[in-house]
């Protein structure tokens, strides 16, 4: 982890009609950091991800990534800059096979960046590699509708990884997984981080969050109520009251 700020969210606000989903969110993520983001359901975590990644437009505030202002850029442009996310509710491409699902970010993100483009063979190899990493290698030619919910989450994560991001946001990628499967994904994410990928982990599974995070951020009802060392944060009385319980 370096001291260079990779993601800077400043005074971010988002409302849906009369409902204020996010209010004055300030968040800085350093290059190479492992950040955990927790909070009750409906607190705005996914909305924050959507605003950062460009799926939604925030009304106030701004987002900077690697020094570049993201406001006004569409989602695909942000992905090409190095931001990738998995969706909380998996959104696979239903008429494509698993392998083809992974080809999309390779074709449209990795190959769209300056520098040498991957050849068709390299793309296929990379797809196989990614499927292997999440344990779906034997299902490469199957369709998403044949997968279980858990397998779809793994595909989601693999697809985000396929974009070779600098910052990966994993939105509840572990929901429903067994103890061992959680460990597998954790190992995977830590490995990615060691290779230089900054990771924001959004999860409810506290043991995973505590194991993984170097810093913990807590969102409640659209506001950030804590941000710091995980050990301190989980003892913060506001956090305990709002989310963790006694």
């Amino acid at each position: 982890m370096t001291d260079v700020a990779l993601l800077e969210v400043t005074n971010l606000g988002k409302r849906f009609g009369g409902f204020i989903a996010l209010q004055a969110i300030e968040l800085t993520v350093r290059d190479g950091e492992r950040v955990g983001l927790i909070g009750p359901n409906g607190s705005g975590k996914s909305t924050l991800v959507n605003c950062v990644c460009g799926t939604l437009r925030n009304e106030t505030g701004s987002v900077r990534f690697a020094g570049q202002v993201l406001d006004g850029l569409s989602a695909h442009e942000r992905t090409r800059l190095g931001l990738a996310r998995s969706f909380q509710l998996p959104r696979p491409f239903n008429t494509l096979t698993l392998a083809e699902n992974l080809r999309i970010p390779l074709l449209y993100t990795v190959n769209a960046r300056p520098g040498a483009a991957l050849s068709a063979l390299e793309i296929d190899e990379r797809c196989t590699e990614l499927l292997h990493m999440v344990g779906l290698a034997d299902k490469a030619t199957r369709m998403p509708r044949d997968l279980t919910q858990i397998e779809m989450r793994k595909l989601e994560l693999a697809r985000a990884m396929a974009a070779s991001p600098r910052l990966l946001i994993a939105d509840e990628a572990m929901a429903g997984l067994s103890h061992n499967e959680v460990d597998d994904i954790l190992t995977l994410l830590i490995q990615l981080n060691e290779q230089g990928v900054t990771v924001i982990l959004i999860e409810h599974i506290m043991r995973a969050v505590m194991h993984f995070s170097q810093r913990l951020v807590v969102l409640v009802a659209g506001r950030k109520i804590a941000d710091g060392d995980p050990g301190d944060v989980v003892r913060d009385p506001d956090v305990v009251r709002a989310y963790l319980g006694e």
Binding site: A75, H76, R80, A84, F87, P92
Partner: protein, 308 residues
């Protein structure tokens, strides 16, 4: 391979020798071109264009204008008709494709009405009274009957459109369009420039429709807005791909041949108004019962799990 098939088709028609074959065949080929063009935006990308008649008629009327002002040969007029329709497609797309697909579809419906209104008010092309186009008797260089020439020209267009559709299907563009159809938000998040690809599909689709309409004035020799913007094009443009199957280039071909033939039969045996009713009923029936069209039904029969 397509060229060989095209050669066979033309050769067979020539051998039969009956002029009616060329007349009727032209109509079927025209529908194949229209249905395939529609499918590039509809089946591949998931955006429904109800204004097929507008793009088609704009191509036809471009020919009328060019015919009155110049003496360009038909193979030159066709791309020009395509350019006009392509630009209109691009414009409509640019204004509406950032929004939900439904808004694009509604806009195409409204566009059809407006385009017809504009043409009806434009005296240079005959307005509501229509325009007469003299069909040349022979063709320069080739020395064949003009109807055969029109058939050949349309056959050439069909080859181009089908080849393009096939090429798109297997290309990076085709994958991108499929992701837009499947889940546009996820496509954007994966790096697909959805707006740009949608505009490409809309422009290409509109341009091909315009090119399919360009020879029409010579075919009918009298063109008025009512026939140029005929409802038949609107409903067939949607029905043929949906009935045949939207997932591959073969579907619109099947739909065009089957529905086109069915319509000829019904028009001759019952009436042309009933004919349109039949098409509408077939469309609704297929959409409810066989959403993947004939291709989908064949795949199920074949025992494999069809995808799409």
């Amino acid at each position: 391979m397509l060229l060989i098939a095209a050669g066979v088709v033309f050769g067979a028609a020539w051998l039969i020798g009956n002029a009616y074959v060329f007349f009727a065949g032209y109509v079927v080929l025209q529908y194949i071109a229209l249905a395939t063009a529609w499918n590039i935006l509809g089946g591949y990308t998931g955006y429904v264009n109800f204004g097929t008649a507008a793009f088609f008629a704009l191509g036809a009327y471009t020919t009328v204008v060019l015919h009155k002002l110049t003496s360009l040969p038909l193979p030159i007029m066709m791309p020009l008709g395509g350019i006009v329709s392509g630009i209109v497609g691009l414009g409509t797309g640019y204004l509406t494709l950032r929004l939900r697909g439904a808004f694009f579809s509604i806009a195409t419906l409204a566009l059809a009405v407006v385009a017809q209104t504009l043409i009806t008010n434009w005296d240079f092309v005959g307005g509501s009274r229509g325009a007469y186009i003299v069909r040349p008797l022979t063709v320069p260089l080739l020395g064949m009957d003009y109807i055969q020439y029109l058939f050949l020209v349309m056959l050439g267009l069909v080859v181009i459109v089908l080849a393009t559709a096939r090429a798109i299907e297997r290309s990076r563009l085709g994958y991108g369009l499929a992701t837009i159809r499947d889940d546009e938000v996820a496509a954007e998040a994966s790096g697909v420039p959805t707006l740009r690809l949608k505009l490409v599909a809309t422009t290409l689709s509109g341009a091909f429709m315009g090119m399919a309409g360009a020879p029409l004035p010579y075919y009918v020799t009298y063109l008025d807005p009512a026939s140029g913007f005929n409802l038949a094009y609107a409903v067939n443009g949607v029905a043929m791909p949906l009935v045949g199957g939207t997932s591959s280039w073969l579907g619109p071909v099947i739909g065009a041949v089957l529905l086109g033939t069915l319509q000829q039969v019904v028009t001759v045996t019952i009436s042309s108004a009933v004919n349109l009713l039949v098409v509408g009923l077939v469309l609704v029936a297929f959409v409810i019962v066989a959403p993947n069209g004939i291709l989908g039904l064949l795949r199920l029969r074949g025992g494999r799990h069809g995808h799409d």
